[in-house]
Amino acid sequence: MKQHVCSTVNGEPVEFLCAADETALEVLRDRLSLTGTKEGCGTGDCGACSVLLDDRLVCSCLVFAAELEGRRVTTVEGIATPEALHPVQQKLLEHAALQCGICTPGVVVAAKALIDANPNPTEEETRYWLAGNLCRCTGYDKIIRAVMDAAAEMRGATS
């Protein structure tokens, strides 16, 4: 028996049918073709599937698709505008803060959530906020610098 779910994804209304045990990650990738959100573990340990659920950072592999009913979801595809990348995205590029890029969508979403919640994070706060986003390529150095740089730019832009 499939469930009928109405949700808002990246600002647009969506409807889908899903099984009761289907995850939000499966629906985003396989039913809505939003493959920017990645599966690295399926157990909430790696953060590659990070999305915002009503502005709260979650691992979409740990959320049932049926739970999206009436909620707002933001994925990596919904972070940039047609005019410009989000400063986090731009700074990740400028700092060469990605190598393979598989963790990058999760990092983008998590870092946006960090700066939304805390516009002036310290290095330690940035490291703890992103501790749920595993990256095996970079050693995190350039990611942390890029995110702090993005936060600084956004503070400058809004002050």
């Binding site: 099984a19 990738r29 396989d30 939003l34 493959t35 920017g36 959100t37 990645k38 599966e39 690295g40 573990c41 399926g42 157990t43 340990d45 790696c46 590659a48 994925t75 990596v76 595809e77 972070i79 940039a80 990348l85 995205q89 990740l92 590029l93 400028e94 700092h95 060469a96 990605l98 190598q99 393979c100 890029g101 598989i102 963790c103 990058t104 969508p105 983008v108 290095e123 330690e124 940035t126 490291r127 703890y128 992103l130 501790a131 749920g132 986003n133 595993l134 990256c135 095996r136 390529c137 970079t138 050693g139 995190y140 150095d141 350039k142 990611i143 942390i144 610098r145």
Partner: protein
């Protein structure tokens, strides 16, 4: 090889532009292995062995076939018998017959997680249900899980017909030791007799995993015309083609491999697990089939890195000069032969100029997944031993650890322990940079310690192809065959732009499939920027020589009357030409008049790979109550030859350092007595996270490699070699302990601290 260009002459090399594929990767547009789908596609799942070692008595798939939605099931009998033969390509050793049996078990399962059957169904859930419905009868056999047990004379055998290779004559009895090797020089007895100080220890490293965040994935479509297409995340699309063709006994021309973006590999994606199975499932079902490993399967059934046991002995005079070194080195291969024992033996003494040495190596089979390459395969284990012993020697001699290494360092003209004479190497320069680094002078507090260690990797060249197509407006497309695993498109674009005298942004780089790119070896061995970069430079020079011919034709002079200067064809001094110099764009605009489209190409087997040395400094604090180690400061110094895009060179150094820190402090496969891995997930197999670490300071040394037109040497693998000992030496300095077994996890350190108290 043409002469190296002087650094000050570069216009774009050494700058830090945004990578060509950057936008795709920060917006989620980039397509990785699991992101591809086709109409009518089926989903596959594996049945895997619940035993560490067992004979398969029977497999019954009747009930599984009856599960609604199931379209095909395969077991070992659906795959051809494959003749033995050394695997060509990829990265790391092994045999094609073993590869085929590893892809799908035949009469025996050799490790927990070994593939026994696979199902394709209309949904993942249906495939999983069918997997549960397959009935297999096993006859469990004794498991062998460590080097000592495997090498014991009465050890249970993994393969009843495996005889040790490398002995003077074929042994009488089969063994779990697949190969032995020895390398020596000088009079080792006399060397140790001359020593004032001798250090002798046995070092252990555990099985660890590369830990790429993207699980293995592929999509395969078989055609009735026997042409198959595979989309997969791999470090080597041509290797997937040749290996899959061999495992299925089909021709390489019947298979097209399209490399997707790849979410990390570090050596682990240089072989095949899924692709042959997906093709057979597709053939049997007549539908495209997608196979994606779960994270648990990645841990249990892909190729981790070898555990090792190394007995090391080094002797030195009071002045610190080494007199002799010996090593007994055993590497676990997993269930099939082919550990990185050989490179381990070759590199264990590579950093040092020692008059007498002997290293013997053993490739040892155990009931664990077959190992795969992991970044400088064999070297981290070997130099963990060497650099730990060197540190202990420095303390015994009351000598600065960098001073001790400088005294014994290989330099220009030294005969490498593995054979050739070193030329233009950066070992001394890295040591001097480390000694002068401010982080080497930072004051240390209580429970804090500093470690130093040297890293080394040979680097390789191998085969590469590149084409450059010039567009009608003078912009360019580079076509190459190495999946971009860490920013290599940016390096290729920089090299093409530098040669052609056009802006970086005017170069697009396409990583093409096996039918569109010329043959190219694996993205591995730190070879891409070196060897494929060399092909790109040569392809660009092919264009330049055509530009000269075309300009000369336009000017009605001989081609040897013109030169390529600053991105333009100019007439040689004294040649009477009434025309302005012609740029690439000028000539491209007139290509129809001068002989048609401009297309440059090069293919090569790159010689002259330059070894890369590194020195790492690590400061730690050890909590005496819990045994937990915090890394306070980390400094990686490495010779890059020439850094094409310095940010991505730093990135290699930082990422390799952190993988090495994980290997040193946290990471290990934990097996129960039956050979079941007990921590097959990222929660319990804990790789370093952002909050575990400080910034990783880097210093790039540039000693030009004379074997590359720009002086490039590979940088990708050396970074993981030094950290194991750098961290351990720092822990030892902080605690007064002498730790010889990794990982230096809190319980192990706490136990050692308790034992030291007496």
């Amino acid at each position: 090889m043409s002469e190296a260009i002087k650094a000050e002459d570069f216009k774009q090399i050494g700058s830090r532009p945004i990578r060509p594929d950057g936008l795709d990767k920060v917006t989620g547009r980039a397509n990785f292995g699991a992101d591809f789908s086709l109409p009518g596609m089926l989903h596959g799942r594996f049945l895997r062995s619940p035993h560490g070692h067992a004979r398969i008595r029977s497999i019954d798939v009747k009930a599984a076939l009856a599960v609604p939605g199931v379209k095909a099931i395969v077991t070992g009998k659906d795959f051809p018998d494959v003749e033995p033969g050394d695997i060509q390509g990829g990265e790391g050793g092994g045999d094609y017959h073993d590869m085929a049996v590893n892809v799908m078990a035949r009469d025996k399962v050799l490790y927990h997680g070994h593939a026994v059957a696979a199902v394709a169904a209309t949904s993942v859930r249906a495939a999983e249900e069918a997997v549960r419905a397959i009935k297999v009868e096993y006859e469990p056999l004794p498991v062998v899980l460590d080097i000592d047990t495997a090498m014991a004379p009465d050890a249970p055998l993994l393969h009843e017909h495996l005889y040790t290779e490398g002995l003077p004559e074929k042994p009488a009895r089969p063994s779990n030791v697949a190969q032995v090797m020895e390398s020596s020089r000088g009079d080792i007895e006399a060397g140790f007799a001359e020593a004032d100080v001798i250090i002798e220890r046995t070092y252990y490293t555990p099985t660890v995993h590369q830990g790429y965040i993207e699980p293995h994935a592929c999509l395969a479509r078989w055609g009735q015309d026997e042409q198959s297409t595979v989309w997969c995340c791999t470090q080597g699309s041509f290797d997937v083609r040749s290996m899959t063709a061999r495992v299925l006994d089909i021709s390489v021309s019947s298979l097209k491999v399209i490399p997707t973006e790849i979410g990390g590999g570090f050596g682990g994606k240089t072989t095949v697990y899924l692709e042959p199975v997906a093709i057979v499932l597709s053939r049997l079902s007549g539908r495209p089939v997608k196979l994606v490993m779960t994270r648990e399967e990645v841990f249990r059934a892909s190729g981790p890195a070898s555990a090792s046991k190394i007995k090391l002995k080094i002797g030195a005079r009071k002045d610190g000069k080494l007199t002799a070194m010996s090593a007994w080195m055993a590497y676990e291969a997993g269930a099939f032969k082919g550990s990185p024992m050989v490179p381990g033996v070759m590199c264990v003494f590579a950093p040092y100029d020692v008059p007498a040495f002997k290293a013997e190596g053993y490739d040892v089979l155990v009931n664990k997944p077959k190992v795969a390459a992991y970044r400088a395969p064999g070297a981290p284990q070997a130099l963990f031993a060497t650099e730990s012993a060197m540190d202990e020697l420095a303390r015994k001699l009351n000598m600065d650890p960098i001073e001790l290494r400088l005294k014994n360092a290989v330099r220009d003209g030294s005969q490498a322990a593995y054979g050739p004479k070193f030329h233009a190497i950066g070992m001394e320069a890295c040591l001097q940079a480390a000694r002068a680094h401010p982080n080497y002078k930072r004051p240390l507090g209580p429970n804090q310690g500093r470690g130093v260690a040297v890293g080394f990797w040979f680097n390789v060249g191998m085969q590469s192809s590149a084409e450059i197509h010039i567009n009608e407006d003078g912009t360019a497309t580079v076509i190459e065959g190495n999946p971009d695993i860490g920013g290599s498109r940016a390096s290729m674009a920089l090299m093409a732009a530098e040669e052609l005298g056009i802006p970086y942004k005017d170069v697009r780089v396409l990583v093409a499939d096996t039918e569109a790119a010329g043959f190219t070896n694996v993205t591995g061995g730190s070879r891409v920027t070196f060897a494929t970069g060399m092909a790109v430079i040569e392809a660009a020079r092919d264009i330049i020589s055509q530009l000269k011919q075309r300009a000369a034709a336009l000017w009605n002079v001989d081609a040897d009357m013109v030169d390529w200067v600053d991105g333009k064809v100019v007439a040689r001094p004294g040649v009477n030409v009434e025309a302005d110099p012609l740029s690439l764009a000028d000539i491209a605009a007139q290509s129809a008049k001068t002989g048609g489209p401009l297309l440059g190409r090069a293919s090569l087997n790159a010689r002259g790979a330059g070894p890369s040395f590194s020195v790492n400094l690590c400061d730690v604090e050890v909590d005496p109550d819990t045994g937990k180690v915090d890394v306070l400061s980390y400094t990686a110094i490495q010779d890059a030859g020439k850094a094409i895009h310095p940010s991505y060179v730093e990135g290699q150094m930082q990422g390799g350092a952190v993988q090495g820190i994980g290997w040193a402090l946290n990471e290990e496969y934990i097996f129960d007595a039956e050979g079941v891995m007990e921590n097959a997930g990222f929660l319990d197999y804990r790789i370093p996270v952002a909050s575990d670490l400080p910034m990783i300071d880097t210093q790039i040394i540039e000693i030009a490699n004379p074997g590359h037109p720009y002086g490039v040497r590979g940088v990708g693998e050396t970074p993981i070699v030094a950290p194991l000992a750098a961290v351990a030496n720092a822990v030892n300095a902080a605690t007064g302990l002498q730790m010889t077994e990794l990982p230096l996890s809190p319980p192990r350190i706490l136990a050692a601290l308790e034992a030291a108290k007496g």
